[in-house]
Symmetry: C2
Amino acid sequence: MLKVPEHQVAGHLAIDGKLGPLVDDSGRFYKPLQGDGRGNKELAFYESFSSDTRVPEHIRKYFPVCYGSQLLEASNGSGLLHHLVLQDIVSSHSNPSIMDVKIGSRTWYPEASDNYIQKCLEKDRRTTTVSLGFRIAGLQLYEGKESGYWRPGRREIQSFTVYNVRSILRRFVSSNSSIGNESSDCSFAPSIYGGSAGILEQLLELKAWFEDQTIYHFHSCSLLILFDKESVSKGSTPVPVIKLIDFAHVVEGKGVIDHNFLGGLCSLIKFVSEVLSDSKESLIKDCVESEKPGICTDNGNCQQS
Amino acid sequence: MLKVPEHQVAGHLAIDGKLGPLVDDSGRFYKPLQGDGRGNKELAFYESFSSDTRVPEHIRKYFPVCYGSQLLEASNGSGLLHHLVLQDIVSSHSNPSIMDVKIGSRTWYPEASDNYIQKCLEKDRRTTTVSLGFRIAGLQLYEGKESGYWRPGRREIQSFTVYNVRSILRRFVSSNSSIGNESSDCSFAPSIYGGSAGILEQLLELKAWFEDQTIYHFHSCSLLILFDKESVSKGSTPVPVIKLIDFAHVVEGKGVIDHNFLGGLCSLIKFVSEVLSDSKESLIKDCVESEKPGICTDNGNCQQS
């Protein structure tokens, strides 16, 4: 009944006798509790978070629902192991395009050991974490029935430059996203990044909370961003999803905002805004250049009159 | 004609035969060009900044005016030396209270050498830079004609904790700010932090720019925050001043926002907001508790009816 998740883009996979998360058919995601206390820290975070009345209702939707923990046969055959039982965010999507974006210009926290800090710092400098305030930690782009998914390997992802990240944020919402295609059309940007339920509005809602909340500092957390390209192509407008995941390194805020997460979030917001405004500009250009006069509406659609 | 600045709160002082900045009587501040290229980098920044048409006019007021460079007798008697000629921000104030707040949760930049990064990181961890996203780097509080100024020494400043910083942000706008006074009254908070020309509004204006500008990354820069307590006490409402200073480590933004500066700025904004709202709350309490019925006006004054 339990199986390996089809659309896991980061972290250890439960294949080849390795330990990794599992999913069931009822929409639950089973994450083995990580060793050296990290698993218990993540469980403790979910327990604290779910009962914390200071967290506003409209913010809870950005976190997976947690159903506690459960003893299960581990995927590596090592016997019974405690698993976090979480909402499976991806299962209800048939062909999801997914980005796992680790937020913050540092992934370490002040209380950590010198060794841990140096290890994180080295990786933060090697990736775009320091320069951008975030890095892409996992990725799959659905490119259509024939080509299937683009799933870059871990090494390729870790070598992404600022230029790559900008280009991926464009390809993520393009209809012509195949590898090697230099000029992404960004045709889904208005409906996925834009609009009142789009990625940008959701990021701005999160930002407003992070400007104020001093409860938690989310070190090394990711934003999972996903949508179903197939249904956009078919003309329906699915609501793109944003969820925060990975809470093994969350610490108490102690009355200070999470300026590290907030700074990175603002940087991501700027990138997404730019893709969106570029796509609107090119749409206006298309309207002007087309023979029929057109009006570019607020949501970026080109209304032919 | 040139003399040692009376109100310099950070950096090297031009006393005891040391090299430091000088001022004249016409409101100019002469900063010796620092060695190892830093001085020239700062001069280059001022030149680039002053001619950059992408910088909006309403943002320029947050930077000192630069009048180029000039050869002057150095304060340490070593002979002629190039000095940056800047607007003297402090001279027009008779009894200024001043904070030098170094913004950002890291003071190093990605392109720096490993040695430089480790040196900065060590200091960033030792001070509140990592935890708060900013640290107080210099301070003088005017406490009145009799007590004069509170000017903590460099070591004391470098040992400030989060608790100390919060308390100093309260004492900065209190009429009873003498050392050892635990319950700062924050009576100047509404007129200095609050109001349409107050510190908070100015910080928010800067924040809006930093959410958008991708021209510069301001590493190891400070916000100089100052006002004249004497004139507040006398009933006039002076406009408090905010200026960015120290640009020896500014690098090109290359299309990315300065998420490091922005995060720290948002953290400072949160602290200032809290002092302001606390002061309004205690004012409401005072109004309620006083025998005469009172109305707490928007600007935080208690109107007795």
